[in-house]
Amino acid sequence: MKFEGEHRIAAAREVVFSALNSPDALKHAIPGCERLVKVSDTEMEATVIARVGPVKAPFSGSCTLSNVIPPQSYLLTGEGKGAASMGRCKAAVNLKADGDETLLTYEFTAEVSGKLAQIGSRLVESSARKLANDFFETFSANIVGEDLKPASAKERSASLTIIWKLAAALCALLATFWYFSGA
């Protein structure tokens, strides 16, 4: 499975890239995140209960950051395991300055096995796309809000960095997989 996305964020590239934050805040940002541990500057582990429709499915996964070239690009890789399915995914993220704004593009590829693979890309991909889209829209809104009105930004996401927000998106995508693997 492979898909791409593009989002315009009304903030400077350096702003988008630079802000770093705590796993606690991140934990709040990921839907269903029960545990999130930042293992190092480039690694974290998460336990997420994915809830999609009437189904909830627990999964545990890890995310790693690599090829970090501030402020323009990095690679996120994630891996998740469950009894009925397994999944590996990576997202190559690029930030491009466009005047005062930033154009964020990502290329998401996933290799899935077990029940998740059986379902085929049609169902999983559409859910993953929607999730990614929703995430980036919320994220952009937050960054912009933060940039313009730092004092009044939503508390739980005020200081999230884009990197960790993307990591969160990845986890959310994994969570989607887990919903299907448990379905």
Binding site: A57, A83, S85, M86, E111, Q118, G120, S121
Partner: protein
């Protein structure tokens, strides 16, 4: 032999008698395995492998065991303690290699979907919830997915102990093929790719096992085609005395060969009942059916045909590569598709020089087994495509080319260069009848007119043979413990009604209705006077069950023999009561009648009553024998199958812009020997054709390079719908086999065998003026457009 009926009796054989057994199904009173509830029953679900090939490093079930409702969790090692593995080897084929297969995976997993852990809980929901709490560590291994790649020196070995991924290689050679090809004026060649498909039975595989530790007896309810095979397997592999093993097949909602096999998950369910002493139910859900029900096809074939200037086939060569998954199916083998491909391709044609080779390779995909038609659809498609190419090479009409090259009517009995023995086929008669049925000449004109308007329609013709009712000379030497006899017990009840216990089984095709017609005709009673009991290894006579189109031909013959014997026994009692000789009497309309004038002498019910309750009225030395058992197995001095034949035609339109195929009409002329019930036979042919069309156009198991099946749900695996099907016109020719008194041959696979080939021929006929040919099945719009694109390059 005598196929004649006494003329004074109304014939029931050959009539479209409605199937009384269907009434309970339309009333919603069918009883399928999943409908059965036993006290204290546990529900079983499996953790299946998410990977195609991996070592199992560790299995942790501790957390799962703590989940609500969980009764037991078993791994492969737990089950193996009480259950021996099985092996798809055949005694008479020492070169055929196969690894022992355990009910659940042991040290390694070899396909996505292989069962690893059995979870037993009070409810299915609880069992399913616990799947997420089983943790398995895998060490992923490279997967063997490509059939050619499986044979490369660098390919990982699926079973290192075998030393190779090549399961077997078989060669056939007749005449001097090399010389014939060298001398031939025209040689046509083609490559074929056959996709993987699966059976998609309406009712999934289901089993309930009930082991009684007190009596040490095992009762298994199983949605299966062969209860005696499973009885034997459970007795052998679980070491239970066979007299204490009973396998009951309740209503079965479709089988198509899928339910002929031995499945690790089903045997694990039975073993779980033995281990727990509680009834255990396993019903495959649709998603696991796709990765555990046996798959079929998956062949790469190269063929070439030499033809003379005057359109005579000189020589033929087939090179088949068949990929069969990671194990050979025990008792049924996975080499049969390949063998049938090289023995049956172009078998209806007379040529002397032949070479056939099949190589069977293992791969990390779901297992390949026997699915409706087995290798015959491949054989038909390859043979008929080559015949079309040969006809085109010499600019002959494909129908006339076939007629010219068919085995002549005076050549029977005939053994082909490929090694098949034909008792008597009706090739010419079927083709003549088909030509008239479809208005062939007019259709060709219409096709030409449409082409001039830029509309591409194709006419396909496919001749097929169907080896039905395999006998002991075929299965015996394998030492696979496959019963090829069929049996029938008839019991006359005191009211003159009859119970018929047959070893044939019923998966919805109506075989048992045909058997009732045979008994009714021989005993001069109505079909509603007969109850047919089937699918119970504890009560019916021993037999193979229903597979390979054998029900009517084999179990029907056994029923005929039993009915004739019972009639003789009834008439003996009647004769004593009437003070006449038995040979002066006959049975008709539930009465004892005088043979010479049909005059009624007494009711059958009266004879039955006296024979059961008033034996004091009979002569002292007359013992009424109102229960009779007879068996039928093909004789050892005749070929081990009865070969049926037929021809199909398809008329379709290819949209060259979208690649979509519109089916316009379909015809079949089939010869299955003596027809018991034309309505049932017609529906068997039509149903088979629809299943074949599904394979031709839609059905394919898509795998990725890691061996993951990607379309394993009904949303993405397409099956044919009634609304998409063309009218299918069916006619018959009847050439009864002389090897039995009944004369019936099989028909269950006829439609499927011809359908892929006839669609292939029709599509390529439509594309021929464009210089395009499809080489890959199923013929999806993508395949069609690819073929068209290649002509532009």
């Amino acid at each position: 032999m005598d196929n004649q009926r006494p003329s004074d009796r109304e014939s029931i054989i050959g009539k479209s008698v409605p199937r009384s057994a269907l009434r309970q199904l339309v009333h919603g009173r069918g009883r399928y395995t999943d409908d059965i509830q036993l006290p204290r029953m546990l529900e079983l679900v499996f953790v299946r492998s998410p990977l195609a090939h991996a070592k199992i490093v560790n299995i942790n079930i501790d957390d799962a065991l703590r989940q609500p409702g969980i009764a037991h969790i078993f791994t492969g090692a737990d089950i193996a303690e009480i259950c021996k593995p099985w092996n798809g080897e055949a005694a008479h084929r020492p070169n055929l290699k196969s690894a022992p297969q355990y009910p659940l995976a042991m040290e390694q997993v070899t396909w996505q979907g292989e069962p690893i852990v059995a979870i037993l809980a009070e409810t299915r929901a609880q069992a399913e919830d616990a799947i997420d709490h089983v943790f398995i560590d895998f060490e992923e291994l490279p997967a063997v997915v490509d059939p050619h790649g499986a044979l490369e020196a660098s390919a990982p070995l699926i079973h290192p102990d075998l030393g190779t991924n090549l399961a077997d290689e078989q060669l056939i050679e007749a005449g001097s093929p090399d010389e014939a090809f060298n001398k031939a004026l025209h040689v046509v060649e083609a490559d074929f790719t056959f996709g993987r498909q699966t059976g998609v039975t309406l009712e999934p595989r289901s089993v309930i096992a009930d082991y009684n530790s007190g009596s040490r007896s095992l009762t298994v309810y199983q949605s299966h085609q062969s209860p005696f095979q499973m009885q034997d397997l459970y007795a052998q592999n679980l070491a239970i005395d066979e007299n204490n093993v009973r396998v009951i097949c309740p209503d079965v909602g479709g089988a198509f060969g899928v339910k002929l096999h031995i499945y690790g998950d089903e045997v694990a369910a039975v073993a779980s009942s033995v281990l727990t002493g509680r009834p255990v139910k396993f019903v495959a859900d649709r998603m696991e059916s796709f990765v555990s029900d046996t798959h079929a096809r998956d062949h790469r074939v190269k063929a070439r045909m030499a033809v003379s200037a005057n359109g005579r086939i000189q020589a033929f060569e087939v090179d088949d590569l068949s990929a069969v998954g990671p194990y050979g199916h025990a008792r049924r083998f996975s080499i049969v598709e390949g063998l049938q491909t090289i023995t049956s391709a172009a078998a209806p044609y007379k040529f002397k020089h032949y070479r056939g080779r099949t190589r069977i390779v293992y791969q990390n995909k779901n297992m390949i087994g026997m699915y409706r038609g087995v290798g015959l659809p491949i054989a038909c498609a390859v043979g008929e495509q080559m015949v079309d190419l040969a006809a085109a090479a010499v600019h002959m009409d494909p129908l006339e080319f076939r007629r010219q090259n068919y085995i002549d009517d005076d050549m029977y009995p005939h053994t082909t260069a490929t090694g098949i023995h034909f008792e008597q086929l009706s090739l010419h008669q079927c083709l003549t009848q088909l030509k008239a049925l479809m208005n062939y000449d007019e259709l060709r004109q219409e096709q030409q007119q449409q082409r001039e308007r830029g509309i591409y329609r194709g006419i396909g013709i496919a001749t097929f043979i169907e080896q039905t009712a395999y006998g002991s000379r075929y299965y015996g030497p394998t030492e696979a413990r496959v019963s090829v006899q069929e049996g029938c017990t008839l019991k006359l009840e005191p009211t003159g009604k009859v119970r018929c216990l047959t070893s044939a089984t019923e998966q919805g095709q109506g075989t048992t209705a045909g058997i009732a017609q045979i008994v009714a005709e021989e005993l001069g009673i109505g079909v509603d006077d007969i109850s047919v009991i089937h699918g119970d290894s504890g009560t019916t006579p021993y037999g193979g069950g229903s597979w390979a189109s054998r029900g009517a031909a084999m179990a029907g013959e056994a029923a005929l023999k039993a009915a004739r014997q019972l009639q003789s026994n009834i008439l003996e009692v009647a004769a004593a009561l009437l003070d006449l000789a038995p040979q002066e009497l006959t049975l008709s309309r539930s009465r004892i009648c005088l043979k010479h004038n049909g005059q009624s002498c007494m009711e059958l019910e009266e004879v039955a009553k006296i024979g059961h309750f008033r034996q004091d009225q009979l002569p002292a030395d007359l013992q009424p024998e109102f229960a009779v058992t007879r068996s039928h197995v093909p004789r050892n001095d005749v070929p081990p199958y009865y070969v049926a034949n037929g021809v199909q035609a398809s008329y379709l339109e290819v949209d060259t812009h979208t690649g979509i195929i519109r089916l316009l009409r379909h015809w079949a002329v089939d010869d299955c020997g003596r027809i018991l019930n034309p309505m049932i036979v017609d529906e068997q042919v039509r149903g088979g054709i629809v299943q074949g069309i599904g394979g031709a156009l839609l059905e394919k198991c898509h795998y990725d390079l890691q061996g993951q099946m990607l379309n394993a749900s009904m949303a993405d695996y397409l099956v044919p719908m009634a609304s998409e099907m063309p009218d299918i016109h069916v006619e018959h020719v009847e050439t009864p086999t002389r090897y039995t008194q009944l004369g019936a041959k099989g028909v269950g696979e006829a439609g499927t065998i011809g359908a892929i080939g006839v669609m292939w021929c029709a599509i390529n006929d439509a594309l021929r003026p464009l210089g395009a040919q499809v080489k890959e099945q199923p013929f999806t719009p993508e395949v069609i457009l690819d073929a068209l694109k290649q002509t532009h390059q």
